[in-house]
């Protein structure tokens, strides 16, 4: 088994490759980021796939997003942070990523004073910048944030509606704004999180092989060894069947033109 990194366009390059170039023989899979459905919805240039036509194989579980600040900063709550006497620097990989879009919507609709520094190659680079005190704010998947928060490097302040163990008590972003457009956009951004970490095969993959892969993924997620590895890595695995992934993806695409227009204003893809 080979894991091949293919960077660019907040997962769009990897998704394009698997959709258009990879042989549909059941030997090349995409570890998809469901945010690509939003890229398709708002017609991002460079999207060369139709998320409804991937052979979705199931997901290893939902994962929320958590916004954190550097733990040496004095703000203990989102409200305190909102009243900061200066702009706080948010480190992000780029538009389209959770690291970027989650704080962006808090800035636009919940009064957070954020200044964005985009272009970090990976979360690990943002964390280095936090340790150097160049960056104040960082958002990422809960599973990514958890060990960093436990080390005391960052303090979690806000989460998305999809919860994750250890972060249940944090305020949900949608409750921090009274703006209906803001609430709607935050809600739509939650939909990919509920799908979590899906795997997909290219369109045209023979049905029997897709079925084998779906069955293997379902069984693997009940495997005690994988569960033990997950516990060690502090990752919660839960099986989300392929039909639910497909349904969730389809729901993301069913937005009114008005909502799509608002999304285009605020949500970009790049990096």
């Amino acid at each position: 088994m080979i894991v091949q990194s293919m960077l660019g366009g907040a997962h769009i390059v990897a998704s394009n490759h698997v959709f258009n170039t990879a042989k549909p023989d059941g030997l090349t899979l995409l570890a998809a980021n469901p945010n690509i459905a939003i890229a398709q919805l708002i017609k991002i240039e460079g999207v060369r796939f139709d998320v409804r036509k991937f052979e979705w194989l199931g997901s290893s579980g939902a994962d929320g997003v958590v916004l954190t600040i550097r733990s040496d900063l004095p703000y203990k709550t989102f409200d305190e942070m909102r009243k900061a006497d200066r702009e706080l620097v948010v480190g992000t990989t780029g538009p389209g990523s959770n690291a970027h879009d989650f704080p962006l919507l808090l800035k636009e609709f919940a009064g957070a004073k954020f200044k964005f520094v985009s272009g970090y190659p990976a979360n690990s680079d943002i964390l280095l910048a936090i340790e150097r005190k160049e960056v104040d704010v960082w958002a990422a998947f809960a599973a990514t944030v958890r060990p960093v928060a436990q080390r005391g490097t960052v303090r979690p302040l806000v989460r998305a509606r999809v919860s994750s163990p250890g972060f249940d008590d944090l305020p949900v972003d949608e409750t921090l704004t009274t703006n209906p457009v803001g609430k709607a956009l935050m809600s739509i951004k939650t939909a990919p999180l509920a799908i979590g970490r899906p795997l997909a095969a290219p369109p045209g993959t023979p049905g029997d092989r897709a079925a084998l892969l779906r069955e293997a993924i379902a069984k693997a997620l009940k495997d005690p060894e994988l569960e033990a590895d997950g516990r060690k890595a502090q990752i919660d695995f839960q099986h989300i069947p392929a039909d639910e992934v497909h349904k969730g993806i389809s729901v993301i695409l069913q937005q009114t033109p008005e909502v799509q227009q608002e999304m285009v204003k605020y949500i970009k893809f790049g990096g």
Binding site: Q4, M6, H11, S15, A122, L212, A216, A220
Partner: protein
Amino acid sequence: MKRNRIIGILMGLAIMPFLLACAWAQAPFYEGKTITIVIGTSSGAASSPQGSSQITSANTSPENQR
């Protein structure tokens, strides 16, 4: 991002034995084959962005089935 890659690796390694077990009952399509999981993130700052990591390419023998 690194954790996404870890998840990819864990999932990939975990599905192989079950894939083989399932496949064996029908047709041994996956015997001796390598599955590539494409992921849109890097393994971290210090790594080559285009780098790939060969975890195992030879664990598809019948002895490794569970």
